[in-house]
Every structure is written in C-alpha cells, then in structure tokens.
C-alpha cells in the first residue's frame, strides 16, 4: 500500500498566498469607496483620512507648531524657541522609537483581524505601549532631567509630550486596521479645534503652557482613538505567542521601520550637531537648525496630498490587481494568464510612478512659487529659500522612493523594502556629512542625492521583483511550504 497518504493530496493549500494583499486591499477599498460616494465632503474625507492614517501625528505636530506660534505668540514669545525645539526633539524621538513597533504590530493586527482573531489585539497594543514607555523611561527621562536645563514643569511637560506623540503613532495602525475613518477624522478634528482655541486663549505663554496646550489637544485625539480601539476589542489582555514568534520570522519589518524613521531624521541630526553655522542650542542640550528644519518640514508636508492620492487610488488599484492575480491563481489559471496579469501590474506600477512623480514635481514647483508670497506666514526667511528648494527636489525623489517601498511591502517583499530605507539611511548620513564641508550653499544636497539614489534603488528593485510575482507568491510568501 505505497503512498497512501502522499497521493491523497500531495500538497498543501495556497490559502496564505494572498493574505497580506487581502488585508491591504480591504483597507484601501474602504478609502476608495468613500471617493465614489459622489459628494465633495466624502472625497475630501477620503483624502484626509488617507493622509491622517499615513502621517496623522506628524501633520498634527507641524500644524500645531504653526497654530500655536501664530495664534498664541504672534511669533514673539521668548519661550517659543524652547517649545519648538522640544516638539522637534520629541517628534524625532517618538517616530524613531515607535516606527519599528508600529510597522510590526500594524501587520500583526491586520492579520489577526483578517483571520477573525480579535482576542490578542488589545494585548498587542498594550505591549507596544509598554515597550515604548520602558524605552522612554530609559532614554527620554534621563535626557530631559540630566541633559537639559529646563525647569521641572517643562521637563514633565516635555516627557508628557513624548508620551502623547508616541501613543498617537502606536494607535494609528490599529485604527487603520479597523478602518475607523470617522474616529480618525473626529479625533484629529477635535484636537485641531482644541489647539486653535487654546492657542487663541494663551497670551505671551511660557514653554510649559504651550506644551500643555499642545499635549492637551493631543490627549483629546489619543483618547478618541484609544476609545475606538477599546470599544472594538475590549480591555481583556490575551497573551499570544505568535506576536513574539512573528518577530523572529519577520524581523525585517521592525528593522525597516527603524531604518525608515532614522533615515527621515538623520540628516537633521547631523545638521544640528555638525553644521558650522545656523545652529541653535536651547535649554542646554536641544540643538536644532531652524533654517534647515523649517524648509525640510514644509517640503515634507507638501508631499502629503500626493501621498493621499497614492493611497486612495494607486495602491487600491494595485491591490485589486494583485488580488485578481491571487484569485485567478486559486481558480487554477494557467501560467500564461498569470503572466498577463503580472504584465498589467507592471504597467500600472510604472505608469503611476511616473504620474505621481510628475505630480510631486508640480507640487514642488508650486511650493517654490508660493514660498515667495507666503514666506513670513510659513515661518521662512530668505536665508532658508535655497534649502527649501533643494528639500522640495529631495521630497519628489524621496516620496517616489517611498512609493516603491510601499509597493514592495504590499507584496510582502520585506528585504527589498528594507534595502531601500537602508540605502536612504546610509546615503543620507554619509552624504549630508560629506556636503557639510562645502558650506551653507550646499546644505541639503546630501539629502537630495540620497533621495535620488534611493529612488533609483527602489525603482530597480521594483522592476526586478515585479516579473517574479508568481515566484514570490508560490515560494517566498507561501506559508504552506
């Protein structure tokens, strides 16, 4: 009786081939369905939701700085510089620490929800928050208490601020997985309103009161987001070993998160500590460089509308094509048919990357023109303009590289995706340092070259891997093997 078992079914199911795709598709379809409702409010809501999901805390931080600076201080508060420096440091710290956690827990939660296993979702959130809290106690608390010359209330407000920004970054992936777009809009809407009101109420405020206004508004957003998660999943903590086991299997996700966040900040850190001129030191240890930072922040903020378009339309269509590929595969399509779908996916990706790059160039051009008119209102000075133009060029390359990064992560090609952010991190560090020696005229050029090379790497990896979609589906991402 040979082969009794073997001939029954000599293979497993390909059930897991398209899990990641289906998860991502469902999120994107929610966004796209909002745009199809026909009303301006729903279209606006869709783009806003996409933008907030991708960079909600960061948008809120930049706008918060702008509101509080404009409304409360009229640009003349003595403590405004301290407040801005603290916010910049905390944003940097929170992003770098939370990105690995958010990348990993976001994927875990999406998978759990897709499988209908909600039990351990709250555990994942609590674990993320706990790790963040422990790291903050170990890193941020000593920094503010021993390295800075802030007073006690400022220190406590600063640490509170870190907690607020970090929590927002950590809760957002859960909200995204839940597709709770109303909660996102309400949370950041209420927080924005609160910040505006508090900003108007404050007159000649201290750094502490500015921080408290900022923190209070963030607390409102976080409370709404956290309540949404709790209402959906409860507060019962069910420990799941898959979460920690998954870390060994998918170490590339947190690594990519870390490289992504560090890459985003490394040039600024280098400029703060190494630039021979233009630096600003407050409270003993808070180094910043307003001419560089402000230009960079505005250029990054200007990319948000294009990023929203990417998530609302391009990635959704991409997901649909990938899902069709997997559906036809499961329906026993021939290789020829699958190759045809792969060709369509390749065409879609390339044409949209070109289109999005063109859109980013247009946005950058518009920003350069607008900066002449709204220079003061945007917090810019004539000395910043060269850096702004360079950073806007960098933004077009960097954002396009991140689109490649996103496509690759969507296909669960974690290592190629990691390679893109590592390239950017490495080159941004080395080239920013290298260009420092050429003087202020070339500030930002290191970042520009790093972004351009990262785009080339990303594009190369994407073009290399897309024709191998079936190989990745069958071999690399096939959990049945």
């Amino acid at each position: 009786m040979p082969l009794r078992g073997a001939l029954r079914r000599p293979y497993g199911e390909a059930r897991s081939l398209s899990l990641i795709t289906r998860i991502m598709t469902s999120v994107n379809i929610t966004i796209e369905s909002m745009t199809r409702q026909g009303s301006i409010s729903s279209v606006f809501g869709a783009y806003l939701y996409a933008a907030l999901l991708v960079a909600g805390p960061w948008i809120f931080t930049v706008l918060g700085l702008f509101f509080l600076s404009a409304a409360a201080c009229d640009g003349s508060c003595p403590d405004l510089t301290i407040f801005r420096s603290i916010i910049i440091y905390n944003s940097m710290y929170a992003l770098i620490i939370t990105s690995p956690l958010a990348f990993f827990s976001g994927r875990y939660v999406s998978e759990q929800l897709h499988r209908g296993c909600n039990d351990s979702v709250f555990y994942a959130l609590v674990l993320s928050l706990l790790i963040f809290a422990l790291l903050s106690i170990g890193l941020a608390v000593p920094f503010y208490f021993w390295a800075t010359t802030l007073n006690a209330t400022e220190r406590i407000a600063s640490i509170y601020n870190i907690v607020m920004i970090g929590c927002a970054w950590l809760i957002i992936p859960f909200i995204g997985a839940l597709r709770a777009y109303n909660a996102v809009l309400v949370a950041f809407g209420a927080a924005g309103l609160s910040m505006l009101v508090l900003g108007c109420m404050l007159h000649d405020p201290s750094a502490t009161s500015l921080l408290l206004a900022f923190n209070g508004s963030f607390a409102i957003a976080n409370s709404i987001l956290l309540a949404t998660v709790v209402l959906r999943f409860g507060t019962e903590i069910t420990i799941d070993s898959l979460l920690t086991n998954g870390l060994r299997r998918r170490w590339e996700l947190p690594a990519a998160g870390m490289a992504y966040a560090l890459g985003l900040w490394v040039d600024k850190i280098i400029m703060w500590y190494s630039a021979p001129s233009g630096g600003l030191i407050v409270a003993g240890a808070l180094h910043t460089m307003p001419s560089y930072d402000t230009a960079m922040f505005w250029s990054q903020l200007s990319s948000i509308p294009v990023i929203a378009v990417f998530f609302v339309h391009v990635e959704t269509r991409f997901s649909a094509l990938i899902q069709k590929f997997h559906a036809r595969l499961q329906q026993r399509a021939s290789l020829r048919e699958l190759n045809e779908i792969i060709r369509k996916i390749g065409t879609h990706v390339l044409s949209n990357l070109v289109g999005l790059f063109a859109a980013l160039v247009i946005v950058a051009g518009m920003m350069i023109l607008l900066s002449f008119v709204f220079m003061t209102q945007l917090g810019l000075r004539p000395a910043y303009m060269v850096v702004l133009r360079v950073s806007l060029c960098s933004m077009t390359f960097y954002t396009s590289a991140m689109f490649c990064f996103n496509f690759l992560l969507h296909l669960d090609l974690r290592r190629p995706a990691l390679l893109i952010v590592l390239t950017y991190l490495g080159l941004n560090s080395v080239l920013t340092l290298a260009f420092l020696s050429f003087g202020p005229d070339l500030y930002g050029y290191g970042n520009l070259v790093a972004s351009a090379v990262s785009l080339l790497v990303g594009l190369g990896l994407l073009l290399k891997e897309l024709p191998w979609l079936h190989y990745h589906a069958f071999i690399i991402n096939n959990a049945s093997l």
């Binding site: 009786m1 040979p2 082969l3 009794r4 078992g5 073997a6 001939l7 029954r8 079914r9 000599p10 293979y11 497993g12 390909a14 595969l329 499961q330 026993r332 399509a333 021939s334 290789l335 020829r336 699958l338 191998w468 079936h470 190989y471 069958f474 071999i475």
Partner: protein, 494 residues
C-alpha cells in the same frame, strides 16, 4: 559505524507503521529467516503517523525512515553554479518522464557533484524558471497551481531518495518498484551492492487506480473545446512518473520477482528484462493452518471479508452483494474484518450504505481483531471484492484451512482458486467473478453457501493447493537461495 546487515529491506508506505498486506508479508518474511539480519528502510511522508503497529523481529537491527517530502536544503545557489540548476532539473524531468536507468545514474552523479538540494532546485529563481519550462512541456496551459505542487512533491521525493542514508548491507531488497525501487536503485549506484526487487502487485497499476479515484485530480479543461485534442492532464504526469520509477527500478535490479505469472506481462511492458524475472509466491504456514479443525457449529451461514476498508478493496460492492445475497440466503451474516482508520471517509460511506440498504442486522464491521484465525475457522466462505490485489495473504490463509473463496479476478486470485499450468492439484477452490459486479458476487456466494458438498470439495482443493505450492518452507528456501546467490556477487554497479 553501524554493523553490516545481510539485507536492507526497502518498504514504501507501510511497515512497521501501517497494517496491510505488504507490511504483514515483510514482517512474516523477516521472522521466517532468523539467521539473516535485516535493516528496514521505511518510506513514508512526514504527515503519516509513525506509531509502530508491528513489533519488529529481533533480527531487524534498525529501522531508517525515508520521508519523501523532506529533503536537504543542499548547497546555496551562487552565480557560478546557477547555470547548472537547469541541467539538473532537466535530468529530473527526464527521470520523471523517460525513466531510463542511465538518466537516473547521471542525476545521482550530478546531485553528488553540485550538492544541490531544495534551496537551489525548488526555492531559487533559476529553479522556478526551470519549473516553468517543465510546465510548458508537461502541462501546457494547465493549472500552474496544481502543476507546482505536483512538481514540487515529485522533485522533493527524488531528492529525498538520493539523499537517503544507506545502511551497510550485502543485499538491498526493494518490496515494490515506485519509491522503494528508486531507493534500491540509488543504493545500487551508491553502495554498489545487488538489488533484489520483489513486486507483490504491479506498482503502476495500483497507482493508476489511486489516481483514478483521487479527488484532487480533475480535468482542467486545458485542451479547450477542441474534441480532437487530447490534453495532457496532471494525472498523466503522475502516471508517467510512476512508470518511470518502475523502469528505473527494473534497470537497476539484479533479480525481479513477482508472485504470479500474470504480473510478469505487466513487468515486461514496463521494461523489465526477461532474464531478470522470477516467480516466488507468498508463503504461509500451511501445516499449521491445516491442523486447525474447521468448526461446523450450528448457526447462520457466515461470509467473511478480510481487508482494509479502503476504495481499492471495493467494500461497497461487497455490501451491495450481501443485499442481493440475502434474497437467496436470507439468514446469511456478513463479517468484515479490517481497519477503518486509513480512509475514514470511505469507511463512513460504507456504513452509511449499509444503513441505506437496511442490512445493518446482517453485516458486522469488526475492525481490527487480534485473532483472525478464529473467524476463518467459523466462516463458510471467504469473499474478496477488491479491484486490485496481488496475492492476498488472507486468501492463502483461507486456502490453508480449507475455506472456499469467492474472489474478483484480480492479481493471482484466479491462480490460487483455479490453479495454473502444471499445477499438480486439479480442481477449483472457489469461484472467480468480475470486479465491481455485486450480482455475480452474490450469486457465487449463494451457490457455495447453498451446496454443502461443493463447499466441502472446494475447501479440500484449496487446502491441498496451499500445502503444495504456497507452503512457507518452500518459499523461504526460494528466497534464501536467491539471497545467497546475490550475496555472493562481488561489489559492482552493473
């Protein structure tokens, strides 16, 4: 280093884990030759439970598992050796389709030189491209998903076979072609010791039946709507592979034995050279069985069926035959002895059929029983409804105690029941019917049950034939002579 054994017995799918005809034969065979030492290579898959159902005899020095779906990762692919992947996979494809001994030999050599395993041949991009080419040739326009899994299993099994740890043995004895024959062929190449190939049934025929009822194989429609096109189906890929395994096994075997004449025709068709062919039947302790007096206890007539409850035994036909038999012999009781755990779905469908036909009171499912002899002694006739058999031990045991048999015309059943050319024992020990024919089976059973004198004569014929031709001492001598001849051969490849 492990001690050198006399015989390495290579068994696929059963011994010592699963109960069945070949496994029982192997167990009895090794016990019958205590002066020889054996090393068992048990071929199975990782999903198969490996809880031993046999207590291995003392002369079995070791049991080595060869898992067909577990193969070594092998050498990592580099730019230097990437181009060799396609060549090795082309050899594998040829081994799976053409099945020539020279191809298998070259494959073994290439795998030894390159050190390729799963990583290079299946999980790499060159491996994928080679699979695409194989797909284009073997299953053009068919479902790539199905081809992928089939290809993967077949390639992995080949890699598992050629990476199997070989014991030091004087003779390798494969009990079937298929994967066992393939391991034997590999042993012949690598260890340069003689290979004895024993076929109970014809492996390719049995696999053809398995594939015919496999629920995961279906017409893909790859041929489109053109009725003149005969599309290549996945089923044929598997069949070609099994046929190739047989051809390779025949090419490397020094001696090929089977149990009855009809099988030799199949072996020749699959490429077995005439000069290697021998017939050695199954042996049983006919003296011991004949010594047990058959009980003529009063009670309803009993029809006994001994066999695993699996499709190949066609238990459903037997159940339908019992339904018809009840019209002719109303008080008849049918007893089915055999494990149901191998194919629980089929076993459940049999019980459901009994329920639907309303014959629950007349059919007993006893499962696995410790003492089959007790039932043989009290039964009036043994029934065998299989659609494929070789030389069923149950039939020989029934013959030895003088129990008439109604059997389908499969394997050597006709030879045992009706005799063969040159058989000194004349007469029929039962009735042979066509497979899948409940009416013929019922009528044959009824004629034996309703005619006492005929039943007695048939029993006598069966007893004498078993004692004369199928006695274990005779069979044991045949094998031991064969082993002695092979062991005396010097170490050589061809």
């Amino acid at each position: 280093m492990a001690a050198r054994t006399d015989v390495c017995m290579i068994i696929e799918g059963g011994y010592p884990y699963l109960v069945g005809g070949v496994a029982s034969w192997a167990d009895a065979f090794m016990r019958a030759s205590p002066q020889l030492t054996f090393h068992v290579m048990a071929i199975s898959i990782s999903g198969q439970a490996r809880r031993r159902n046999f207590v291995v005899p003392e002369n079995v020095v070791a049991v080595t598992d060869v898992l067909l779906d577990v193969c070594p990762p092998g050498q990592t692919l580099t730019y230097r050796n990437a181009d060799r992947v396609e060549h090795v996979l082309q050899l594998i494809q040829n081994a799976l389709t053409a099945g020539a001994g020279s191809i298998f030999e070259e494959l073994v050599e290439q795998l030894r030189i390159t050190g390729f395993g799963q990583a290079a041949l299946l999980d790499s991009k060159p491996g994928w491209r080679a699979m695409e080419k194989a797909y284009s040739r073997l299953l053009p326009n068919g479902p790539i998903l199905d081809f992928f899994w089939s290809w993967r299993f077949l390639v992995r099994s080949l890699l598992a076979v050629v990476s199997a740890p070989l014991p030091q043995a004087r003779v390798f004895h494969a009990v079937a072609t298929g994967f066992a024959g393939l391991v034997g062929s590999y042993a012949k190449i690598a260890a340069m010791r003689p290979l004895l190939l024993t076929e109970h049934g014809i492996y390719t025929n049995e696999r053809r039946i398995d594939l015919a009822v496999a629920d995961w194989l279906f017409d893909s429609g790859a041929g489109g709507f053109d009725v003149s096109v005969r599309p290549v189906e996945l089923r044929s890929i598997w069949l070609d592979a099994f046929r190739s395994f047989s051809r390779i096994s025949y090419a490397f075997a020094d001696v090929i034995t089977t149990q009855y004449r009809a099988n030799q025709a199949f072996q020749r068709t699959d490429g077995a050279p005439d000069d290697k062919l021998r017939i050695i039947p199954n042996g049983i302790d006919a003296t011991k069985f004949a010594a047990f007096p058959r009980e003529a206890a009063p009670g309803p007539p009993i029809v006994l069926l001994i066999g695993r409850i699996v499709p190949i035994k066609d238990i459903r036909t037997f159940i339908m035959a019992v339904t018809l038999l009840k019209d002719l012999v109303p008080e008849v009781v049918a007893v089915i002895i055999g494990p149901e755990d191998e194919d629980p779905g089929y076993a459940a469908s049999c019980r459901e059929l009994v329920h639907q036909l309303g014959i629950g009171a007349s059919i007993q499912f006893l499962g696995r029983v410790p003492d089959v002899l007790k039932y043989l002694l009290t039964a009036d006739v043994l029934a065998l409804s299989s659609i494929s058999e070789a030389q069923p031990i149950a039939l020989l045991e029934a013959a030895a105690i003088g129990l008439p048999v109604v059997s389908t015309d499969v394997g050597s059943c006709r030879e045992i029941i009706e005799g063969f050319d040159g058989d000194p024992v004349e007469g029929c020990g039962g009735i042979v019917v066509t497979p899948c024919n409940p009416k013929a089976l019922a009528e044959a059973l009824a004629s034996i049950l309703l005619h006492d004198e005929m039943r007695s004569q048939m029993g006598d014929v069966m007893r004498r034939r078993a004692a004369n031709y199928y006695h274990k001492d005779r069979v044991k001598c045949l094998y031991e002579e064969l082993y002695a001849d092979l062991m005396a051969k010097p170490a050589r490849f061809h």
